[in-house]
Subunit: 320 residues, 2 copies
Protein backbone atom coordinates (compact mmCIF):
# COMPACT_ATOMS: atom_id res chain seq x y z
CA UNK A 1 0.00 0.00 0.00
CA UNK A 2 3.04 2.22 0.34
CA UNK A 3 2.80 3.63 -3.16
CA UNK A 4 -0.76 4.86 -2.78
CA UNK A 5 -0.61 6.46 0.60
CA UNK A 6 -0.36 9.92 -0.92
CA UNK A 7 -3.56 9.57 -2.95
CA UNK A 8 -6.54 7.94 -1.33
CA UNK A 9 -10.15 7.81 -2.45
CA UNK A 10 -10.92 11.12 -0.78
CA UNK A 11 -8.00 12.88 -2.45
CA UNK A 12 -9.53 12.10 -5.84
CA UNK A 13 -13.06 12.99 -4.72
CA UNK A 14 -11.83 16.32 -3.39
CA UNK A 15 -9.89 16.98 -6.57
CA UNK A 16 -13.04 16.36 -8.57
CA UNK A 17 -15.10 18.74 -6.44
CA UNK A 18 -12.36 21.34 -6.64
CA UNK A 19 -12.01 21.38 -10.43
CA UNK A 20 -15.58 20.58 -11.47
CA UNK A 21 -16.59 24.11 -12.36
CA UNK A 22 -13.42 24.72 -14.36
CA UNK A 23 -13.50 21.66 -16.61
CA UNK A 24 -15.89 19.97 -18.99
CA UNK A 25 -17.54 16.75 -17.97
CA UNK A 26 -16.58 15.24 -21.30
CA UNK A 27 -18.91 12.91 -23.20
CA UNK A 28 -18.51 9.15 -23.52
CA UNK A 29 -18.95 8.08 -27.13
CA UNK A 30 -19.40 4.67 -28.68
CA UNK A 31 -19.25 3.40 -32.24
CA UNK A 32 -20.99 0.26 -33.40
CA UNK A 33 -18.59 0.02 -36.26
CA UNK A 34 -15.52 0.11 -34.00
CA UNK A 35 -17.18 -2.40 -31.67
CA UNK A 36 -17.63 -4.69 -34.66
CA UNK A 37 -13.99 -4.24 -35.69
CA UNK A 38 -12.72 -4.79 -32.15
CA UNK A 39 -15.07 -7.62 -31.21
CA UNK A 40 -15.93 -5.98 -27.92
CA UNK A 41 -17.78 -2.96 -26.52
CA UNK A 42 -15.62 0.16 -26.42
CA UNK A 43 -16.51 3.29 -24.45
CA UNK A 44 -14.44 6.32 -25.37
CA UNK A 45 -14.04 8.99 -22.70
CA UNK A 46 -13.49 12.02 -24.91
CA UNK A 47 -10.89 14.15 -23.16
CA UNK A 48 -10.00 15.49 -26.58
CA UNK A 49 -13.03 17.73 -26.01
CA UNK A 50 -11.67 18.89 -22.65
CA UNK A 51 -10.62 22.51 -21.97
CA UNK A 52 -7.28 23.24 -23.70
CA UNK A 53 -8.04 20.13 -25.77
CA UNK A 54 -6.72 17.52 -23.35
CA UNK A 55 -7.07 15.88 -19.92
CA UNK A 56 -4.11 18.02 -18.83
CA UNK A 57 -6.59 20.75 -17.84
CA UNK A 58 -7.68 18.55 -14.91
CA UNK A 59 -4.34 17.95 -13.25
CA UNK A 60 -3.03 21.46 -13.76
CA UNK A 61 -6.19 23.00 -12.34
CA UNK A 62 -6.23 20.70 -9.34
CA UNK A 63 -2.59 21.34 -8.54
CA UNK A 64 -2.98 25.11 -8.85
CA UNK A 65 -6.13 25.13 -6.71
CA UNK A 66 -4.33 23.10 -4.03
CA UNK A 67 -1.67 25.77 -3.46
CA UNK A 68 -1.88 28.20 -0.56
CA UNK A 69 -2.77 31.85 -1.15
CA UNK A 70 0.80 32.68 -0.16
CA UNK A 71 2.19 30.34 -2.81
CA UNK A 72 -0.30 31.41 -5.47
CA UNK A 73 0.62 35.05 -5.00
CA UNK A 74 4.04 34.33 -6.45
CA UNK A 75 2.69 32.47 -9.44
CA UNK A 76 2.99 28.99 -10.93
CA UNK A 77 5.65 27.63 -13.25
CA UNK A 78 6.43 24.61 -15.38
CA UNK A 79 8.45 23.46 -18.32
CA UNK A 80 6.44 21.90 -21.11
CA UNK A 81 6.10 22.21 -24.84
CA UNK A 82 2.69 20.66 -24.91
CA UNK A 83 -0.80 20.79 -23.48
CA UNK A 84 0.37 21.04 -19.88
CA UNK A 85 1.89 24.43 -20.72
CA UNK A 86 -1.48 25.73 -21.87
CA UNK A 87 -3.23 24.08 -18.95
CA UNK A 88 -0.95 25.87 -16.46
CA UNK A 89 -1.32 29.21 -18.23
CA UNK A 90 -5.09 28.74 -18.21
CA UNK A 91 -5.08 27.90 -14.49
CA UNK A 92 -3.02 31.05 -13.84
CA UNK A 93 -5.48 33.15 -15.78
CA UNK A 94 -8.51 31.70 -13.98
CA UNK A 95 -6.89 32.26 -10.58
CA UNK A 96 -5.60 35.69 -11.50
CA UNK A 97 -1.95 34.83 -10.87
CA UNK A 98 1.19 34.84 -13.01
CA UNK A 99 2.23 31.74 -14.91
CA UNK A 100 5.78 31.15 -16.13
CA UNK A 101 6.27 28.59 -18.84
CA UNK A 102 9.68 27.34 -19.92
CA UNK A 103 9.51 26.12 -23.52
CA UNK A 104 12.16 24.89 -25.92
CA UNK A 105 12.77 27.55 -28.57
CA UNK A 106 11.86 24.92 -31.17
CA UNK A 107 8.29 24.56 -29.83
CA UNK A 108 5.65 25.23 -32.52
CA UNK A 109 4.45 28.83 -32.79
CA UNK A 110 0.86 27.67 -32.29
CA UNK A 111 1.71 26.26 -28.83
CA UNK A 112 3.43 29.49 -27.85
CA UNK A 113 0.43 31.49 -29.03
CA UNK A 114 -1.82 29.22 -26.98
CA UNK A 115 0.18 29.94 -23.82
CA UNK A 116 0.33 33.68 -24.53
CA UNK A 117 -3.40 33.69 -25.20
CA UNK A 118 -3.92 32.73 -21.56
CA UNK A 119 -1.46 35.40 -20.42
CA UNK A 120 1.39 32.98 -19.69
CA UNK A 121 4.94 34.35 -19.71
CA UNK A 122 7.24 32.24 -21.87
CA UNK A 123 10.94 31.64 -21.20
CA UNK A 124 12.68 30.04 -24.15
CA UNK A 125 15.58 27.64 -23.78
CA UNK A 126 17.54 25.09 -25.76
CA UNK A 127 15.55 21.95 -26.58
CA UNK A 128 17.20 19.64 -24.04
CA UNK A 129 15.81 18.39 -20.74
CA UNK A 130 18.87 19.81 -18.99
CA UNK A 131 18.33 23.30 -20.40
CA UNK A 132 14.65 23.16 -19.55
CA UNK A 133 15.28 22.19 -15.96
CA UNK A 134 18.05 24.76 -15.53
CA UNK A 135 15.92 27.54 -16.98
CA UNK A 136 12.96 26.58 -14.83
CA UNK A 137 15.16 26.59 -11.69
CA UNK A 138 16.34 30.07 -12.60
CA UNK A 139 12.80 31.34 -13.17
CA UNK A 140 11.64 29.90 -9.85
CA UNK A 141 14.63 31.38 -8.01
CA UNK A 142 13.84 34.79 -9.49
CA UNK A 143 10.07 34.79 -9.05
CA UNK A 144 9.40 32.50 -6.13
CA UNK A 145 6.77 30.74 -8.26
CA UNK A 146 5.73 27.17 -7.43
CA UNK A 147 6.56 24.47 -9.96
CA UNK A 148 3.72 22.26 -11.15
CA UNK A 149 5.31 19.29 -12.86
CA UNK A 150 3.39 17.81 -15.83
CA UNK A 151 3.04 14.38 -14.20
CA UNK A 152 5.38 13.79 -11.26
CA UNK A 153 3.10 15.59 -8.80
CA UNK A 154 0.44 13.98 -6.62
CA UNK A 155 -2.12 16.74 -7.14
CA UNK A 156 -1.64 16.49 -10.89
CA UNK A 157 -2.10 12.72 -10.70
CA UNK A 158 -5.25 13.12 -8.57
CA UNK A 159 -6.61 15.59 -11.12
CA UNK A 160 -5.97 13.27 -14.05
CA UNK A 161 -7.71 10.50 -12.08
CA UNK A 162 -11.00 12.36 -12.35
CA UNK A 163 -11.35 11.49 -16.05
CA UNK A 164 -11.55 7.77 -15.27
CA UNK A 165 -13.73 8.52 -12.23
CA UNK A 166 -16.29 10.19 -14.50
CA UNK A 167 -16.14 7.28 -16.92
CA UNK A 168 -16.78 4.78 -14.10
CA UNK A 169 -19.71 6.88 -12.89
CA UNK A 170 -21.29 6.81 -16.33
CA UNK A 171 -20.40 3.32 -17.57
CA UNK A 172 -20.80 0.49 -15.12
CA UNK A 173 -19.02 -2.86 -15.09
CA UNK A 174 -16.09 -2.12 -17.32
CA UNK A 175 -13.86 -5.16 -17.61
CA UNK A 176 -10.90 -3.09 -18.71
CA UNK A 177 -9.83 0.54 -18.79
CA UNK A 178 -7.04 1.63 -21.12
CA UNK A 179 -4.90 4.75 -21.27
CA UNK A 180 -1.67 5.63 -23.05
CA UNK A 181 1.51 6.06 -21.05
CA UNK A 182 4.16 8.76 -21.38
CA UNK A 183 5.29 10.20 -18.06
CA UNK A 184 2.51 8.22 -16.41
CA UNK A 185 0.38 10.99 -14.88
CA UNK A 186 -2.81 9.91 -16.61
CA UNK A 187 -2.05 6.19 -16.28
CA UNK A 188 -1.31 6.32 -12.56
CA UNK A 189 -4.39 8.49 -11.97
CA UNK A 190 -6.51 6.10 -14.00
CA UNK A 191 -5.18 3.14 -12.04
CA UNK A 192 -5.96 4.82 -8.72
CA UNK A 193 -9.46 5.72 -9.92
CA UNK A 194 -10.04 2.09 -10.89
CA UNK A 195 -8.81 0.91 -7.52
CA UNK A 196 -11.18 3.16 -5.59
CA UNK A 197 -14.20 3.45 -7.87
CA UNK A 198 -14.23 0.29 -9.99
CA UNK A 199 -11.94 -2.27 -8.35
CA UNK A 200 -12.94 -5.10 -10.67
CA UNK A 201 -11.75 -3.19 -13.73
CA UNK A 202 -8.35 -4.20 -15.05
CA UNK A 203 -6.02 -1.33 -16.02
CA UNK A 204 -4.00 -1.76 -19.20
CA UNK A 205 -1.70 0.76 -20.85
CA UNK A 206 -0.91 1.23 -24.51
CA UNK A 207 2.60 2.37 -25.41
CA UNK A 208 4.41 2.97 -28.70
CA UNK A 209 7.00 0.24 -29.33
CA UNK A 210 9.40 2.99 -30.41
CA UNK A 211 9.40 4.44 -26.89
CA UNK A 212 8.60 1.44 -24.73
CA UNK A 213 10.19 2.56 -21.48
CA UNK A 214 7.08 1.83 -19.39
CA UNK A 215 6.95 -1.70 -20.82
CA UNK A 216 10.62 -2.23 -19.99
CA UNK A 217 10.24 -0.61 -16.57
CA UNK A 218 7.48 -3.06 -15.70
CA UNK A 219 9.81 -5.93 -16.68
CA UNK A 220 12.89 -4.70 -14.87
CA UNK A 221 11.11 -3.22 -11.85
CA UNK A 222 12.98 0.09 -12.14
CA UNK A 223 12.48 3.23 -14.20
CA UNK A 224 13.93 2.77 -17.68
CA UNK A 225 14.71 5.68 -20.01
CA UNK A 226 12.38 6.58 -22.88
CA UNK A 227 13.53 6.57 -26.50
CA UNK A 228 11.95 8.62 -29.25
CA UNK A 229 11.46 6.38 -32.25
CA UNK A 230 7.73 6.90 -32.76
CA UNK A 231 5.22 9.29 -34.33
CA UNK A 232 3.31 9.29 -31.02
CA UNK A 233 5.25 12.35 -29.93
CA UNK A 234 3.11 12.98 -26.85
CA UNK A 235 4.48 9.81 -25.26
CA UNK A 236 8.23 10.26 -25.36
CA UNK A 237 8.59 10.92 -21.65
CA UNK A 238 10.22 8.71 -19.02
CA UNK A 239 8.14 7.68 -15.98
CA UNK A 240 8.59 9.64 -12.75
CA UNK A 241 9.42 8.43 -9.26
CA UNK A 242 5.87 9.30 -8.15
CA UNK A 243 4.05 7.72 -11.11
CA UNK A 244 6.05 4.52 -11.51
CA UNK A 245 5.35 2.95 -8.08
CA UNK A 246 1.61 3.42 -8.61
CA UNK A 247 1.77 1.98 -12.13
CA UNK A 248 3.93 -0.93 -11.00
CA UNK A 249 1.44 -1.82 -8.30
CA UNK A 250 -1.88 -1.21 -10.05
CA UNK A 251 -1.45 -1.59 -13.81
CA UNK A 252 -1.91 -5.13 -15.12
CA UNK A 253 0.00 -4.76 -18.30
CA UNK A 254 1.58 -2.50 -20.89
CA UNK A 255 0.86 -3.44 -24.52
CA UNK A 256 3.23 -1.97 -27.10
CA UNK A 257 2.21 -1.10 -30.65
CA UNK A 258 4.03 -0.18 -33.84
CA UNK A 259 3.64 3.14 -35.62
CA UNK A 260 1.76 1.38 -38.41
CA UNK A 261 -0.75 0.05 -35.88
CA UNK A 262 -1.04 3.52 -34.34
CA UNK A 263 -1.83 5.16 -37.69
CA UNK A 264 -4.39 2.44 -38.49
CA UNK A 265 -6.16 3.02 -35.19
CA UNK A 266 -6.04 6.79 -35.66
CA UNK A 267 -7.53 6.43 -39.10
CA UNK A 268 -10.28 4.20 -37.73
CA UNK A 269 -11.27 6.87 -35.20
CA UNK A 270 -11.20 9.60 -37.84
CA UNK A 271 -13.30 7.59 -40.29
CA UNK A 272 -15.79 5.92 -38.02
CA UNK A 273 -16.13 8.31 -35.10
CA UNK A 274 -15.44 11.53 -37.04
CA UNK A 275 -13.11 12.73 -34.33
CA UNK A 276 -9.71 14.20 -35.07
CA UNK A 277 -7.14 12.67 -32.76
CA UNK A 278 -3.37 12.72 -32.82
CA UNK A 279 -1.23 9.58 -32.97
CA UNK A 280 -0.54 9.48 -29.20
CA UNK A 281 -4.25 9.44 -28.55
CA UNK A 282 -4.78 6.38 -30.77
CA UNK A 283 -2.30 4.19 -28.92
CA UNK A 284 -4.72 2.42 -26.52
CA UNK A 285 -7.12 1.56 -29.34
CA UNK A 286 -4.17 0.27 -31.37
CA UNK A 287 -3.22 -1.91 -28.40
CA UNK A 288 -6.78 -3.20 -28.10
CA UNK A 289 -6.96 -4.05 -31.80
CA UNK A 290 -3.56 -5.74 -31.72
CA UNK A 291 -4.65 -8.07 -28.91
CA UNK A 292 -8.34 -8.17 -29.70
CA UNK A 293 -8.76 -11.90 -29.21
CA UNK A 294 -8.15 -11.40 -25.51
CA UNK A 295 -10.83 -8.73 -25.15
CA UNK A 296 -13.58 -10.52 -27.06
CA UNK A 297 -17.03 -9.67 -25.71
CA UNK A 298 -15.66 -7.46 -22.93
CA UNK A 299 -16.56 -3.90 -21.94
CA UNK A 300 -13.52 -1.72 -22.47
CA UNK A 301 -13.12 1.94 -21.53
CA UNK A 302 -10.55 3.98 -23.42
CA UNK A 303 -9.47 7.48 -22.48
CA UNK A 304 -9.08 9.56 -25.62
CA UNK A 305 -6.48 11.90 -24.23
CA UNK A 306 -6.80 14.67 -26.76
CA UNK A 307 -3.95 16.85 -27.70
CA UNK A 308 -3.79 19.84 -29.89
CA UNK A 309 -3.22 18.25 -33.23
CA UNK A 310 -1.12 19.98 -35.82
CA UNK A 311 -3.79 19.62 -38.49
CA UNK A 312 -1.45 19.95 -41.47
CA UNK A 313 0.91 17.36 -40.05
CA UNK A 314 -1.81 14.84 -39.28
CA UNK A 315 -3.45 15.41 -42.66
CA UNK A 316 -0.06 14.51 -44.10
CA UNK A 317 -0.07 11.22 -42.18
CA UNK A 318 -3.58 10.46 -43.39
CA UNK A 319 -3.09 11.27 -47.03
CA UNK A 320 0.58 10.42 -47.31
Amino acid sequence: MRSNMNIDRQTIEQAHERIKSYIHRTPVLTSQSIDDAAGCQVFFKCENFQKVGAFKARGAMNAALSLSTEQLKKGIATHSSGNHAQAIARAGKILGVKSYIVMPRTAPEIKKRGVKGYGGEIFECEPTLQAREATLAEVIKKTGATEIHPFNNYQVIAGQATAAKELFEEIKDLDVIMAPVGGGGLLSGTALAARYFSPKTKVIAGEPAGSDDAYRSMQSGKIEQAQSQTIADGLLTTLGDKTFPIIKELVSEVITVSDVQIVEAMRMVWERMKIIIEPSCAVPLAALLKEKERFRGQRVGIILTGGNVDLEKVLGLMTG
Copy 2:
Protein backbone atom coordinates in the same frame (compact mmCIF):
# COMPACT_ATOMS: atom_id res chain seq x y z
CA MET B 1 -51.98 27.40 -37.12
CA ARG B 2 -52.99 25.25 -40.02
CA SER B 3 -49.46 24.14 -40.79
CA ASN B 4 -48.74 22.79 -37.32
CA MET B 5 -51.92 20.92 -36.62
CA ASN B 6 -50.29 17.61 -37.53
CA ILE B 7 -47.47 17.96 -35.04
CA ASP B 8 -48.28 19.27 -31.59
CA ARG B 9 -46.17 19.27 -28.46
CA GLN B 10 -47.32 15.81 -27.52
CA THR B 11 -46.44 14.36 -30.90
CA ILE B 12 -42.82 15.35 -30.34
CA GLU B 13 -42.81 14.17 -26.72
CA GLN B 14 -44.21 10.82 -27.79
CA ALA B 15 -41.69 10.55 -30.60
CA HIS B 16 -38.91 11.16 -28.09
CA GLU B 17 -40.19 8.48 -25.71
CA ARG B 18 -40.62 6.08 -28.61
CA ILE B 19 -37.10 6.39 -30.01
CA LYS B 20 -35.12 7.06 -26.81
CA SER B 21 -33.74 3.59 -26.38
CA TYR B 22 -32.70 3.34 -30.03
CA ILE B 23 -30.74 6.56 -30.35
CA HIS B 24 -27.88 8.33 -28.62
CA ARG B 25 -28.61 11.35 -26.49
CA THR B 26 -25.80 13.20 -28.23
CA PRO B 27 -23.46 15.53 -26.35
CA VAL B 28 -23.54 19.31 -26.51
CA LEU B 29 -20.04 20.68 -27.02
CA THR B 30 -18.66 24.18 -26.74
CA SER B 31 -15.39 25.76 -27.79
CA GLN B 32 -13.96 28.88 -26.18
CA SER B 33 -11.96 29.51 -29.28
CA ILE B 34 -15.01 29.40 -31.57
CA ASP B 35 -16.93 31.60 -29.11
CA ASP B 36 -14.10 34.11 -29.35
CA ALA B 37 -14.13 33.98 -33.14
CA ALA B 38 -17.92 34.29 -33.32
CA GLY B 39 -18.33 36.87 -30.57
CA CYS B 40 -21.14 34.89 -28.96
CA GLN B 41 -21.71 31.67 -27.05
CA VAL B 42 -22.23 28.68 -29.34
CA PHE B 43 -23.64 25.34 -28.19
CA PHE B 44 -23.14 22.54 -30.69
CA LYS B 45 -25.62 19.67 -30.54
CA CYS B 46 -23.46 16.90 -31.93
CA GLU B 47 -25.74 14.77 -34.09
CA ASN B 48 -22.64 13.80 -36.02
CA PHE B 49 -22.15 11.34 -33.15
CA GLN B 50 -25.68 9.98 -33.58
CA LYS B 51 -26.38 6.38 -34.68
CA VAL B 52 -25.66 6.01 -38.44
CA GLY B 53 -23.67 9.23 -38.02
CA ALA B 54 -26.52 11.69 -38.40
CA PHE B 55 -29.80 12.99 -36.95
CA LYS B 56 -31.57 10.93 -39.65
CA ALA B 57 -31.60 7.98 -37.22
CA ARG B 58 -34.24 9.85 -35.19
CA GLY B 59 -36.84 10.49 -37.85
CA ALA B 60 -36.47 7.11 -39.53
CA MET B 61 -36.82 5.28 -36.24
CA ASN B 62 -39.83 7.31 -35.17
CA ALA B 63 -41.60 6.80 -38.48
CA ALA B 64 -40.93 3.06 -38.50
CA LEU B 65 -42.06 2.66 -34.88
CA SER B 66 -45.27 4.53 -35.71
CA LEU B 67 -46.40 2.00 -38.28
CA SER B 68 -48.94 -0.70 -37.47
CA THR B 69 -47.87 -4.32 -37.08
CA GLU B 70 -49.78 -5.01 -40.26
CA GLN B 71 -47.80 -2.39 -42.17
CA LEU B 72 -44.49 -3.37 -40.63
CA LYS B 73 -44.93 -6.96 -41.65
CA LYS B 74 -44.59 -5.93 -45.28
CA GLY B 75 -41.47 -3.89 -44.67
CA ILE B 76 -40.38 -0.29 -45.09
CA ALA B 77 -39.01 1.44 -48.18
CA THR B 78 -37.42 4.67 -49.28
CA HIS B 79 -35.26 6.21 -51.94
CA SER B 80 -32.13 7.89 -50.69
CA SER B 81 -28.45 7.88 -51.43
CA GLY B 82 -27.53 9.26 -48.07
CA ASN B 83 -27.87 8.77 -44.34
CA HIS B 84 -31.63 8.27 -44.46
CA ALA B 85 -31.03 5.06 -46.43
CA GLN B 86 -28.87 3.67 -43.65
CA ALA B 87 -31.27 4.95 -41.01
CA ILE B 88 -34.19 3.08 -42.63
CA ALA B 89 -32.16 -0.09 -43.06
CA ARG B 90 -31.13 0.16 -39.41
CA ALA B 91 -34.75 0.65 -38.31
CA GLY B 92 -35.75 -2.40 -40.34
CA LYS B 93 -33.04 -4.46 -38.71
CA ILE B 94 -33.99 -3.36 -35.19
CA LEU B 95 -37.67 -4.12 -35.82
CA GLY B 96 -36.92 -7.37 -37.60
CA VAL B 97 -38.63 -6.36 -40.84
CA LYS B 98 -37.49 -6.02 -44.43
CA SER B 99 -36.17 -2.71 -45.71
CA TYR B 100 -36.07 -1.80 -49.40
CA ILE B 101 -33.78 1.03 -50.42
CA VAL B 102 -33.81 2.55 -53.88
CA MET B 103 -30.42 4.09 -54.64
CA PRO B 104 -28.96 5.68 -57.75
CA ARG B 105 -26.42 3.30 -59.30
CA THR B 106 -23.85 6.10 -58.92
CA ALA B 107 -24.14 6.13 -55.13
CA PRO B 108 -20.77 5.55 -53.39
CA GLU B 109 -19.92 1.92 -52.61
CA ILE B 110 -19.45 2.83 -48.96
CA LYS B 111 -23.10 3.95 -48.68
CA LYS B 112 -24.29 0.75 -50.32
CA ARG B 113 -22.17 -1.29 -47.94
CA GLY B 114 -23.65 0.66 -45.03
CA VAL B 115 -27.18 -0.23 -46.11
CA LYS B 116 -26.29 -3.87 -46.75
CA GLY B 117 -24.58 -4.02 -43.37
CA TYR B 118 -28.00 -3.44 -41.79
CA GLY B 119 -29.57 -6.04 -44.04
CA GLY B 120 -31.27 -3.55 -46.34
CA GLU B 121 -32.18 -4.69 -49.85
CA ILE B 122 -30.90 -2.27 -52.49
CA PHE B 123 -32.64 -1.53 -55.79
CA GLU B 124 -30.43 0.42 -58.13
CA CYS B 125 -31.78 2.95 -60.62
CA GLU B 126 -30.63 5.76 -62.86
CA PRO B 127 -29.50 8.84 -60.94
CA THR B 128 -32.57 10.99 -61.62
CA LEU B 129 -35.40 11.88 -59.27
CA GLN B 130 -37.87 10.49 -61.82
CA ALA B 131 -36.10 7.10 -61.98
CA ARG B 132 -35.87 6.97 -58.21
CA GLU B 133 -39.55 7.63 -57.72
CA ALA B 134 -40.59 5.21 -60.46
CA THR B 135 -38.38 2.45 -59.05
CA LEU B 136 -39.67 3.04 -55.54
CA ALA B 137 -43.30 2.89 -56.76
CA GLU B 138 -42.52 -0.43 -58.40
CA VAL B 139 -40.88 -1.85 -55.30
CA ILE B 140 -43.82 -0.79 -53.15
CA LYS B 141 -46.30 -2.25 -55.59
CA LYS B 142 -44.45 -5.54 -55.55
CA THR B 143 -43.79 -5.81 -51.82
CA GLY B 144 -46.55 -3.83 -50.15
CA ALA B 145 -43.89 -2.03 -48.11
CA THR B 146 -44.63 1.38 -46.62
CA GLU B 147 -42.64 4.33 -47.88
CA ILE B 148 -40.85 6.46 -45.32
CA HIS B 149 -39.88 9.67 -47.07
CA PRO B 150 -36.59 11.29 -45.97
CA PHE B 151 -38.29 14.53 -44.89
CA ASN B 152 -41.79 15.01 -46.25
CA ASN B 153 -43.38 12.87 -43.54
CA TYR B 154 -44.80 14.13 -40.23
CA GLN B 155 -43.38 11.27 -38.15
CA VAL B 156 -39.97 11.88 -39.65
CA ILE B 157 -40.25 15.59 -38.85
CA ALA B 158 -41.38 14.83 -35.29
CA GLY B 159 -38.39 12.50 -34.91
CA GLN B 160 -35.92 15.11 -36.14
CA ALA B 161 -37.49 17.60 -33.71
CA THR B 162 -36.16 15.58 -30.80
CA ALA B 163 -32.58 16.74 -31.44
CA ALA B 164 -33.53 20.38 -30.72
CA LYS B 165 -35.75 19.23 -27.84
CA GLU B 166 -32.74 17.63 -26.16
CA LEU B 167 -30.67 20.74 -26.75
CA PHE B 168 -33.35 22.93 -25.14
CA GLU B 169 -33.51 20.56 -22.17
CA GLU B 170 -29.78 20.85 -21.62
CA ILE B 171 -29.08 24.48 -22.53
CA LYS B 172 -31.51 27.07 -21.25
CA ASP B 173 -32.28 30.50 -22.65
CA LEU B 174 -30.94 30.11 -26.15
CA ASP B 175 -31.50 33.30 -28.11
CA VAL B 176 -31.17 31.51 -31.43
CA ILE B 177 -31.14 27.97 -32.76
CA MET B 178 -29.66 27.26 -36.18
CA ALA B 179 -29.92 24.31 -38.52
CA PRO B 180 -29.09 23.77 -42.18
CA VAL B 181 -31.88 23.35 -44.70
CA GLY B 182 -32.13 20.85 -47.54
CA GLY B 183 -35.54 19.18 -47.80
CA GLY B 184 -36.44 20.84 -44.51
CA GLY B 185 -37.10 17.83 -42.28
CA LEU B 186 -34.62 18.88 -39.63
CA LEU B 187 -35.39 22.56 -39.95
CA SER B 188 -39.15 22.16 -39.63
CA GLY B 189 -38.70 19.77 -36.70
CA THR B 190 -36.30 22.21 -35.05
CA ALA B 191 -38.76 25.06 -35.53
CA LEU B 192 -41.59 23.05 -33.97
CA ALA B 193 -39.39 22.05 -31.04
CA ALA B 194 -38.54 25.71 -30.47
CA ARG B 195 -42.18 26.67 -30.59
CA TYR B 196 -43.20 24.13 -27.98
CA PHE B 197 -40.13 23.86 -25.76
CA SER B 198 -38.32 27.20 -26.05
CA PRO B 199 -40.71 29.72 -27.57
CA LYS B 200 -38.40 32.70 -27.06
CA THR B 201 -35.69 31.13 -29.19
CA LYS B 202 -35.47 32.44 -32.74
CA VAL B 203 -35.03 29.83 -35.47
CA ILE B 204 -32.60 30.64 -38.26
CA ALA B 205 -31.53 28.42 -41.14
CA GLY B 206 -28.22 28.32 -42.97
CA GLU B 207 -28.28 27.47 -46.66
CA PRO B 208 -25.62 27.28 -49.38
CA ALA B 209 -25.94 30.20 -51.81
CA GLY B 210 -25.41 27.71 -54.63
CA SER B 211 -28.66 25.95 -53.76
CA ASP B 212 -30.70 28.69 -52.14
CA ASP B 213 -34.20 27.37 -52.83
CA ALA B 214 -35.35 27.74 -49.21
CA TYR B 215 -34.21 31.35 -49.20
CA ARG B 216 -36.09 32.03 -52.43
CA SER B 217 -39.13 30.08 -51.25
CA MET B 218 -39.32 32.29 -48.15
CA GLN B 219 -39.25 35.35 -50.43
CA SER B 220 -41.78 34.13 -52.96
CA GLY B 221 -44.06 32.29 -50.54
CA LYS B 222 -44.07 29.14 -52.67
CA ILE B 223 -41.76 26.18 -53.03
CA GLU B 224 -38.88 27.03 -55.36
CA GLN B 225 -36.66 24.40 -56.99
CA ALA B 226 -33.19 23.62 -55.65
CA GLN B 227 -30.07 24.04 -57.75
CA SER B 228 -26.84 22.16 -57.20
CA GLN B 229 -23.99 24.65 -57.38
CA THR B 230 -22.40 23.94 -54.01
CA ILE B 231 -20.03 21.57 -52.25
CA ALA B 232 -22.63 21.16 -49.49
CA ASP B 233 -24.01 18.13 -51.26
CA GLY B 234 -26.30 17.08 -48.44
CA LEU B 235 -28.45 20.18 -49.01
CA LEU B 236 -29.40 19.96 -52.68
CA THR B 237 -32.99 18.99 -52.03
CA THR B 238 -36.11 21.04 -52.66
CA LEU B 239 -38.51 21.66 -49.73
CA GLY B 240 -41.58 19.46 -49.42
CA ASP B 241 -45.24 20.40 -49.13
CA LYS B 242 -45.21 19.22 -45.50
CA THR B 243 -41.98 20.94 -44.47
CA PHE B 244 -42.38 24.28 -46.24
CA PRO B 245 -45.56 25.50 -44.48
CA ILE B 246 -43.97 24.87 -41.08
CA ILE B 247 -40.76 26.61 -42.09
CA LYS B 248 -42.65 29.53 -43.60
CA GLU B 249 -44.57 30.04 -40.40
CA LEU B 250 -41.92 29.40 -37.77
CA VAL B 251 -38.48 30.13 -39.20
CA SER B 252 -37.34 33.74 -38.84
CA GLU B 253 -34.82 33.78 -41.59
CA VAL B 254 -32.65 31.85 -44.02
CA ILE B 255 -29.04 33.08 -44.27
CA THR B 256 -27.15 31.99 -47.38
CA VAL B 257 -23.40 31.38 -47.49
CA SER B 258 -20.81 30.87 -50.20
CA ASP B 259 -18.77 27.71 -50.59
CA VAL B 260 -15.68 29.61 -49.43
CA GLN B 261 -17.47 30.53 -46.21
CA ILE B 262 -18.62 26.93 -45.79
CA VAL B 263 -15.08 25.56 -46.12
CA GLU B 264 -13.77 28.18 -43.68
CA ALA B 265 -16.37 27.20 -41.09
CA MET B 266 -15.70 23.52 -41.67
CA ARG B 267 -12.00 24.10 -41.18
CA MET B 268 -12.68 26.00 -37.98
CA VAL B 269 -14.63 23.07 -36.54
CA TRP B 270 -11.94 20.59 -37.59
CA GLU B 271 -9.13 22.67 -36.10
CA ARG B 272 -10.68 23.98 -32.95
CA MET B 273 -13.20 21.31 -31.99
CA LYS B 274 -11.32 18.35 -33.46
CA ILE B 275 -14.49 17.04 -35.04
CA ILE B 276 -14.68 15.88 -38.63
CA ILE B 277 -17.75 17.35 -40.28
CA GLU B 278 -18.76 17.52 -43.90
CA PRO B 279 -19.44 20.78 -45.74
CA SER B 280 -23.26 20.57 -45.32
CA CYS B 281 -22.81 20.34 -41.57
CA ALA B 282 -20.74 23.54 -41.44
CA VAL B 283 -23.39 25.69 -43.12
CA PRO B 284 -25.10 27.10 -39.98
CA LEU B 285 -21.78 28.07 -38.40
CA ALA B 286 -20.78 29.70 -41.69
CA ALA B 287 -24.04 31.67 -41.58
CA LEU B 288 -23.39 32.71 -37.98
CA LEU B 289 -19.86 33.88 -38.78
CA LYS B 290 -21.04 35.74 -41.87
CA GLU B 291 -23.56 37.74 -39.84
CA LYS B 292 -21.76 37.70 -36.53
CA GLU B 293 -22.35 41.35 -35.69
CA ARG B 294 -26.03 40.54 -35.27
CA PHE B 295 -25.42 37.71 -32.84
CA ARG B 296 -22.93 39.49 -30.59
CA GLY B 297 -23.15 38.31 -26.99
CA GLN B 298 -26.05 35.96 -27.68
CA ARG B 299 -26.52 32.29 -26.84
CA VAL B 300 -26.73 30.33 -30.08
CA GLY B 301 -27.50 26.63 -30.50
CA ILE B 302 -26.29 24.92 -33.66
CA ILE B 303 -27.25 21.44 -34.72
CA LEU B 304 -24.21 19.67 -36.15
CA THR B 305 -26.14 17.37 -38.43
CA GLY B 306 -23.44 14.82 -39.06
CA GLY B 307 -23.19 12.95 -42.27
CA ASN B 308 -20.96 10.17 -43.28
CA VAL B 309 -18.05 12.08 -44.65
CA ASP B 310 -16.08 10.76 -47.56
CA LEU B 311 -12.79 11.19 -45.75
CA GLU B 312 -10.59 11.26 -48.87
CA LYS B 313 -12.80 13.88 -50.48
CA VAL B 314 -12.91 16.13 -47.44
CA LEU B 315 -9.19 15.76 -46.87
CA GLY B 316 -8.84 17.00 -50.44
CA LEU B 317 -10.91 20.09 -49.61
CA MET B 318 -8.82 20.75 -46.54
CA THR B 319 -5.41 20.29 -48.10
CA GLY B 320 -6.21 21.38 -51.62
